[in-house]
Symmetry: C2
Subunit: 402 residues, 2 copies
């Protein structure tokens, strides 16, 4: 039987899009969510001809006429209404952030004038008309879109929201996710494992990755019991949008999850992918548009890779975000991988002085070795068709430190 | 007066290191903090010879003797104690994650055997001794350091912590930060500004950036009043480790903050940096080892740049993290910048098929134009000594999307 390829799997996963709706959040809480509305300038940006230096405001035409000394008639702070400059030989002191009065058109900063006895004398020969001003509407006009729906709310967008008075932002809701582990060999972090048990760790890794994407996932452990497994799976299918399993889908005698999924009308969309790690990845859906089941292999590196390669790609799509930009990296040394599988090689990254990104293989001990993940930064995607990869060749990179 | 250079400023800022101590956090909450202890394996990793495929366990020597069919004497699940294989012609069924019994040394997966009437017959000619096993201690030995102090707690480290039973992690405390804005021209997000006012936005941007670094900063707005300014500044110096100001340090008549800082024994370490944006950046300290004052210029792009370029560099250092790796990018088109200042050019990024990172200038309308920050990804650091920069030349990059 020919295994499904990575490209086919990605297409299948992306065929299962869902829309979980939107929600209105206080704007600061929206950080990291996908924006679901266009943000429009409520006023011109800047909203008025804004002074950008502390100094004096005057009429440029007066300088042109040869005037060099100006009587100071008033001082205008930022936030004050404009104070007009009535005569050619007059000026006002004016502060950064203030509105330029309509009767003036040029600002000379304090550093470039001498102020004495209520008069300001220019110290510079060259003054440009309109200098030290940020003109009304120079950045955006009222009604202009300042940020489009379909981007992640960044600190810069928080800033834009604040400046246009959007105290709440409409963002895409994230799916409700249940992370499921199974098997009597697993104990919790606080427990002492028997010599033949290990502690659960995958669920926490997955939850940590999802937390970075504003998903607050729940965690469930299912013991090796067919009745309990079925009951728990059915509960999850009803109450969550996505079930992320690590382990439990295999040919093992005590893997009751495949049966529970089948009994609960979860349709298998594929099982097994021509990749390493993560070959036994299983994917299914509950009804036509019900919960999705991403059943990752139990090995920590496999779960981690599949989570980044497939689940986050899917998440990005359902949130209406553009596909992640492709990043390339050059292999830092020769590498051989013989099996006819697409290989996800763990690498560290270094930017060289030609601005080229170099990926150095750090192999560890296979997909069970999660200690290796802590010292690497990305997976380099090595094509299935080949087995010899040369230093300097360029491949697609999946950075997992973002 | 010669202005302080960017390199000098970085050195001065990094001369003001502080240690805010450590705290113990429940391990999942430690995500993103700086680890302050070495993590050691409490057992070998894996803790036993671990089966990596569902199948049968047998003695390799029996295969060598020519045996091909084995009587199944028992089934051993993951988590069970080992069930020994007594005779050459016997095997046990064994599950992924189970401990290999001492009497067996090889696992053949279900796909490669035929099971009938309680007997398993090998379907493969070639079986390797020790196959489908992840041997005890292959990744780490008991007592080995699995993660060192001085790294950011990543999802992979959460996984390691869980697997070695560290339910709490010792991490570096982050500084207590107060973000201060000032000036009567600023109103809050919910307020309607007069025609000559604008809404506060810098404080929220700064808070959003700090939130990504696990700093939960407070925000304060100080009106244009000398007595209130002094009282507020003194309160902040006493109760916070860092004051981050945007605006308020200039030659303006209504900038009462410089006087309040001087009256409160805050020593100026520098003012004005040979850079754009952010030339009027002011930095000081309260007493020898008291609060630090980062007074950024009020323009949003300047505040944003200084925050990333200087504050986060300082934060990284005080948390005991290694200096951020230098990233280089190649300029995507010719660019001219004449003033004798180090220029921080806003750019978008693209990885090309030579794995080279290309930075394309997106200039916007100067340091007041924060709408431009929402569509760019990084600052490219163009050296002060030059004014003509050619397409393809490589410079240091400061990514602000991390």
């Amino acid at each position: 039987m020919k295994m499904t390829t990575v490209a086919e799997v990605e297409k299948l996963v992306l065929s299962q899009l869902r829309d979980f709706g939107t929600q209105l959040l206080p704007f600061e809480q929206a950080l990291g969510y996908a924006l679901a509305e266009d943000l429009k300038a409520d006023r011109d940006l800047p909203p008025f001809n804004r002074v950008t230096m502390d100094g004096i405001a005057l009429k440029y035409s007066a300088i042109k006429k040869g005037l060099n000394t100006f009587r100071i008639t008033a001082t205008q702070a930022a936030g004050d209404g404009p104070v007009e400059v009535e005569q050619d030989d007059e000026c006002i002191e004016i502060m950064t952030g203030a509105v330029l009065p309509a009767s003036a058109d040029t600002v000379v900063r304090y550093e470039d004038v001498k102020i004495e006895k209520g008069q300001a004398t220019l110290l510079l020969a060259e003054i440009k008309q309109g200098q030290n001003l940020h003109l009304q509407g120079a950045d955006k006009k009222q009604g202009d879109v300042v940020a489009r729906a379909g981007v992640v709310v960044s600190p810069a967008i928080i800033s834009l929201a604040a400046s246009i008075g959007k105290s709440h932002l409409l963002v895409k809701k994230v799916p409700r996710v249940m992370i499921i582990s199974s098997g009597d060999e697993l104990v919790d972090v606080n427990e002492i494992p028997s010599p033949y048990q290990i502690r659960k760790s995958n669920s926490y890794t997955v939850r940590a990755v999802l937390k970075k994407h504003n998903i607050d996932a729940d965690i469930l452990h299912i013991p090796d019991d067919p009745a309990i497994t079925k009951e728990k799976i059915q509960h999850c299918l009803k109450n969550y949008d996505v079930l992320l399993l690590s382990g439990g889908i295999s040919m093992g005698k005590f893997d009751f999850i495949p049966q529970a999924l089948e009994d609960s009308c979860v349709e298998k969309l594929f099982h097994k992918v021509a990749q390493r790690p993560g070959k036994p990845f299983w994917f299914g859906r509950h009804g036509d548009d019900g919960a999705l089941v991403f059943a990752f292999p139990g090995n920590p590196v496999a779960t981690f890779m599949c989570l980044h390669r497939y689940f986050l790609t899917w998440l990005n799509a359902i949130l209406g975000l553009p596909p992640k930009k492709v990043t390339y990296a050059a292999l830092g040394r020769d590498f051989t991988f013989k099996p006819e599988l697409q290989y996800y090689l763990q690498v560290t990254l270094q930017s060289n002085e030609q601005a080229q990104l170099i990926a150095m293989p750090v192999e560890g001990n296979g997909s069970g070795d999660f200690a290796n993940l802590a010292v690497t930064e990305a997976f380099l995607e090595l094509p299935m068709e080949r087995s010899e990869f040369k230093k300097g060749e360029v491949f697609v990179l999946w950075d997992f430190t973002d």
